[in-house]
């Protein structure tokens, strides 16, 4: 479903040199597969999610989603593919404060080419246990409830791939389990693949496949070797 080949990304340092952040020869995720990505802070996990989602362009390499090469597309097309085929859950939830829970979910549907039924937003919120909080503003919801809204929003367009960047980092332990259960259950139910970034062993243990960025990212080895010299 997702095939990454020879993906490279570097950033310019203040000195003018280019720092290679990502060098991933191969990473594949199957349909409906649930994968955890672990790694050190600053290792490039979030950058990888940004590149897969098309927010950031790679320097080189190939990313195919359902056989479609994403890196060749212009930014507006990548935006459209992101809206249609990917869901994104952030560490800080990032709900829009002016919109109710229901509107936040429907907002996720606004920019997609495929038009989802507005009833799906309600259905998703019911699924995440917020049927009685649909018309609440984010400021009126608890932290755990906000992240559940964010999960519902990410799944609004029936994506093929859910990208989750430390979705439970700001949630208390009791809610962490509930949110991960929720993500896994709904994605399993709708055959959505997951690539979830986490630092938590407990969460990682709940996934069958765990990838360490240090292992798949050759740039890490190069940086380590350079610093050893």
């Amino acid at each position: 479903m997702l095939e990454i080949r020879n993906l490279k990304k570097s950033y310019a340092e203040p000195s003018g040199n280019r720092l290679l952040i990502l060098d991933i020869p191969q990473l594949d995720i199957g349909e409906g597969e649930q994968v955890v990505l672990r790694g050190e802070s600053g290792g490039g996990k979030t950058t990888l999610l940004h590149i897969i989602s098309g927010i950031v362009a790679a320097d080189s390499g190939s990313i195919k989603l359902d056989g479609t090469e994403l890196t060749k597309f212009s930014e507006p097309t990548r935006d459209r593919i992101r809206a249609d085929k990917m869901g994104y859950v952030f560490q800080t939830f990032n709900l829009l404060p002016a919109f109710t829970a229901l509107e936040n979910v429907r907002l996720g549907m606004t920019f997609a080419k495929k038009k989802m039924n507005a009833a799906r937003a309600k259905e998703l919120l019911t699924k995440v246990g917020l049927s009685d909080r649909m018309h609440y503003l984010p400021s009126q919801l608890s932290v755990g409830q906000q992240q559940r809204v964010a999960v519902a929003r990410a799944l609004a367009n029936k994506p093929r791939l859910l990208l989750a960047d430390e979705p439970t980092a700001n949630v208390d332990p009791s809610n962490q389990k509930r949110i991960i259960d929720l993500i896994q259950d709904v994605c399993r139910e709708e055959s959505v693949a997951i690539l979830l970034v986490t630092h938590s062993d407990e969460i990682a243990n709940r996934f069958e496949r765990v990838e360490k960025l240090e292992r798949i990212n050759h740039a890490f080895a190069q940086r380590t070797a350079a610093s050893d010299l």
Partner: protein, 457 residues
């Protein structure tokens, strides 16, 4: 959700800044609409009063503007007088003879027709004597023809009507020559009713009044003309007031012959003795001619040494072009600047909110919104503020007119309805100002367009 509902929600979430920005736009547009309406009313008032129902004013040589202001608007200092016999030159042969027989006095060749009478066939010539006041209002001595033959209104087809009473007559058995008619504003402000008595004064600082009273026999309906502010007395009674007898003058030097200004002997108020023709003067003669005869008559009168003829419409439209319209443009320029300031406030308002909203924009981008989507949302917000403020301002600007009719209609005669657009410029200026407001949203929209998702998340 669509882009419009997202923009609406963004605006309603920031209620106070949105309302204040919209208010500043509304005030700007309301000011422009108000200036246009007021200048429209002024122009219309000028046009109405310029459309006086006569083509020429004949009066003493001097300033044409002063003669017009004095005669049409009852403003400015009274001008010099011309002889009553000169006024009689506008009468046909039989009329002149009849007037001579009615009044008496010395008149050369009373049986001949007036020198200018051929020019006003089918028209009229009405004399006016001015110089006195009733309280602060001008007192005009004239003949009953003033209200019998003059008309008013936009098309100059409305007769003068009396809210109470009737027109004064040349002589009445009850009041002799001493009847008066007052304009609606004079009656209201001086609380005059029928049968009230008024006393003319010279308007001097000592407030001295003539001791002869005039009885009010009619109160005019409001006309929206300066006549609302006039007190009209019978010209025959005017001549009989103390100091209104014209002295004889030396033919060579023009100096007064001392002791010649002698009033006729009258035994009672109801005496039918009139001031003789040779002792009379008039301040102005209102002349209406048929067709194009007025131009020839004006030229003819202006060639004479004793009088001038001015076209009030030319003088009034000249003043309108010279003073009123430049002031209107200046006011419009100022109020348009106010609107530009309002537009800048839209720019500043939305631009400042951009810093708070960068994360929201980045989230929307992460959810699949393109840069064009984000730009469109910000532009829709500025459109809503500009159009919303503009429409509110337009409504407010237009509502002021009908709300102030109570005060403005009596003095201007112009009734302003909500939808009466008094200026041809309004359909262009108001949308133009709204467009400026919309354009003010372009800069914040471009800023939103350039928002970095990675840095803002």
């Amino acid at each position: 959700m669509n882009l419009l509902s997202i923009a609406v929600r963004n605006l309603t979430y920031r209620k106070l800044p949105t309302a204040l920005t919209m208010l500043s736009m509304a005030l700007g547009v309301a000011l422009v609409v108000l200036v246009l309406s007021i200048s429209g009313i002024i122009e219309k008032t000028f046009e109405r009063t310029g459309n006086v129902g006569y083509n020429l004013i004949v009066g003493a040589k001097g300033s044409d503007v002063q003669l017009t202001f004095n005669t049409v608007f009852f403003l400015s200092q009274p001008v010099e007088n011309i002889k009553y016999s000169y006024y009689m030159e506008f009468m046909a042969g039989d009329e002149r003879q009849k007037d001579f027989e009615r009044i008496g006095g010395i008149l050369e060749e009373p049986e001949r027709r007036g020198a200018y009478s051929s020019s006003i066939q089918g028209g009229f010539a009405i004399p006016m004597c001015m110089g006195d006041y009733i309280d602060v209002f001008r007192c005009i001595g004239t003949t009953p023809d003033y209200f019998n033959r003059l008309k008013h209104g936009d098309n100059n087809d409305r007769d003068y009507k009396f809210a109470k009473g009737r027109n004064f007559v040349d002589y009445s058995d009850d009041n002799g020559f001493f009847e008066a008619v007052v304009g609606s504003q004079v009656a209201a402000e001086m609380k005059l009713t029928l049968d009230s008595e008024i006393f003319a004064s010279h308007g001097s600082s000592d407030g001295a009044q003539h001791n002869q009273a005039f009885k009010i026999v009619g109160i005019l309906e409001s006309t929206g003309t300066p006549n609302d502010r006039g007190a009209f007395i019978n010209i025959e009674g005017f001549y009989l007031l103390e100091g209104h007898v014209a002295p004889d003058r030396n033919d060579v030097t023009g100096k007064e012959v001392k002791g010649s200004a002698v009033a006729p002997v009258r035994d009672s108020k109801l005496s039918k003795v009139r001031l003789p023709i040779d002792k009379r003067e008039v301040t102005a003669v209102l002349v209406k001619t048929e067709g194009m005869k007025g131009i020839g008559l004006q030229r003819q009168v202006n060639k004479s040494t004793s009088a001038q003829a001015v076209s009030p419409i030319s003088v009034i439209s000249g003043l309108l072009e010279q003073f009123v319209k430049p002031i209107k443009w200046a006011l419009l320029a100022i109020t348009s600047l106010v609107c530009i300031v309002s537009a800048i406030s839209i720019l500043v308002g939305i631009y400042n909110s951009m810093n708070e909203r960068r994360r929201d924009i980045a989230v929307m981008r992460a959810l699949g919104a393109s840069r064009d989507h984000i730009t469109a949302i910000i532009l829709v917000e500025s459109v809503l503020i500009a159009v919303g403020g503009g429409v509110l301002g337009w409504i407010a600007g237009h509502a002021v007119g009908p709300l102030s009719n109570t005060w403005t209609e009596p003095s201007t005669g112009v009734r302003v309805d909500f939808f009466s657009i008094n200026s041809m410029m309004e359909p262009f200026i108001v949308p133009g100002l709204i467009l400026i407001g919309i354009l003010a949203g372009v800069i914040p929209a471009l800023s939103a367009y350039r928002t970095s998702v990675v840095k803002s998340l």
